[in-house]
């Protein structure tokens, strides 16, 4: 790798895309596991317990995931500052909506909203899990996951915040999915239209699925 890759504009763009790909894959598996909670509580508990206690997932994949999230956010904010500085004097009249989508121009806003949501999400699920395992030493609680999920999703205000956050996630993905491929150097007359369609399906389908799961547990818990 050349010395300047990670500090060049193109290199950073490619790294943003790679971390984006990683998060896209993570989000899909997160959705599939969460959806199990709607189908069968026992299966959800089993899979969650496996994910929560497997050494490879806990001590290799989880740190990589955390790094990916922090990198994607940190680099996104850093590049946004740099990009704003590249035009010190703004236009008196500008019509960006004539040539680009709102989603593509506001990735930093939708991204930060998603990250703020992650704060609440970590508070709800990840931090209690870390306390259970690493402070209290309770590694073998295979049936706790479903009741904990239902308990959290029984609060209408929390579910409302979750649903609003999924809308921001969807807006972020509507541009982010296909943009990752473009940044990584993949643009093809035949396949790019398919990627854009897949991106739309993913960006609408996955957040809608999370909204469905949250509402399902809210409505069935009362």
């Amino acid at each position: 790798m050349s010395k300047g890759f990670s500090t060049s504009s193109v290199g950073r763009k490619i790294l943003m895309a790679l971390s984006g790909f990683f998060l896209l894959i993570f989000l899909l598996q997160h959705f599939v596991i969460n959806f199990l909670s709607v189908i069968n509580s026992e299966t959800f508990n089993e899979v969650s317990h496996f994910m929560g206690t497997n050494g490879l997932i806990q001590f290799v994949m989880q740190p990589i995931l955390l790094f990916g999230v922090v990198f994607h956010l940190g680099m996104g904010i850093y590049l946004d500052f740099k990009n704003k500085a590249a035009r010190p004097i703004k236009y008196a009249m500008d019509k960006p909506s004539e040539n680009s989508s709102w989603m593509s121009r506001n990735m930093i806003i939708t991204g930060i909203m998603v990250m703020l949501f992650l704060g609440l999400h970590f508070y709800d699920f990840w931090i209690p899990e870390i306390i259970d395992k690493f402070i209290e030493g309770k590694w073998d609680e295979p049936t706790k996951y479903f009741p904990h999920l239902v308990h959290k999703m029984s609060d209408p205000i929390r579910v409302g915040i979750y649903c609003a956050s999924f809308i921001f996630l969807g807006l972020h993905l509507l541009h982010g999915f296909q943009s990752s491929f473009q940044s990584a150097g993949f643009n093809h007359n035949k396949y790019t239209p398919i990627i854009k369609q897949l991106g739309n399906i993913y960006a609408i389908g996955i957040p809608s699925g999370f909204v469905f799961i949250a509402l399902f547990h809210l409505l069935t818990s009362h």
Partner: protein
């Protein structure tokens, strides 16, 4: 047509500058935008006001010299045209038109609507060429077979006139469409392979040194480009840059 023009006036590169309002009368709807500015300047000279400075040269849409951010869009509201090919029939009688220079930290304003786009020249000089012997023993171009689709792609990239509309319209002030076109016009051709890796590394490095922003794939540059340069070239440059970075010996 009678119009009200709100134009950026700036004495020199150190002046703060401001938007000034001028009425202009008797404009034909068949006139080009630059001809309308010529009429304005004649009226200003008659009134003892310094004429508005703006860049122009061929007035045929091929030199890349004219610029202007007109009513919030690079080269104005029409598509696939430069400002010199923009006609006044795109505007309404009595309309107020905002005219600003291309804005970017890398394109400093020299005077009024004239900006310094020499950053593009320096990017070209850093690698936008092929090294061939032209001293009398030049190889016949047709001696090297080139597939028609590749020749077409190279030609599509080479239609970039370097006007800077991509930078002007990009919310990040990114020059990647320009650099990608100048990298790709050679990377599709056999003659461009020898320096392919070093070219993309050097040109991206120079682009970053010039202070342009980072591409976030909004696609605004492709829409506003008077020559319709495709985002496909940016993806190709990214791929070339990644490959060159991995295999580079530096």
């Amino acid at each position: 047509m009678d119009l009200t023009l709100k134009i950026w006036r700036q004495k020199d590169k150190n002046d703060k500058g401001s938007m000034e309002t001028y009425p202009v009368t008797g404009i034909s709807e068949h006139a080009s935008f630059l001809e309308m500015l010529d009429v304005l300047n004649e009226q200003l000279i008659t009134q003892g006001i310094e004429p508005v400075a703006f860049d122009h040269d061929c007035r045929e849409g091929i030199c890349g010299m004219c610029s202007l951010y007109i009513n919030g869009e690079a080269h104005g509201p029409d598509r696939r045209v430069t400002t010199c090919q923009l006609h006044m029939r795109m505007f309404k009688d009595g309309e107020t038109i905002h005219i600003e220079p291309f804005r970017s930290g890398s394109f400093p304003v020299l005077k009024d609507l004239v900006v310094d786009r020499s950053a593009f020249d320096r990017i070209q000089q850093s690698g936008g060429f092929i090294s061939v012997n032209t001293s009398g023993n030049t190889q016949d171009a047709n001696a090297v077979p080139i597939a028609k689709p590749m020749a077409d792609k190279a030609m599509d990239a080479a239609t970039c006139i370097g006007c800077g509309a991509c930078v002007a319209t990009c919310k990040n002030s990114s020059a990647m469409l320009f650099v990608a076109a100048k990298v790709s016009q050679f990377s599709y051709l056999p003659q461009g392979q020898v320096e392919r890796k070093q070219r993309v590394l050097n040109m991206v490095d120079q682009m970053d040194k010039e202070g342009f922003g980072n591409c976030t794939n909004t696609g605004a540059c492709e829409v506003e480009c008077p020559k319709g340069i495709s985002l496909e070239f940016i993806a190709r440059m990214n791929k070339d840059y990644l490959t060159a970075s991995i295999t580079s010996e530096k």
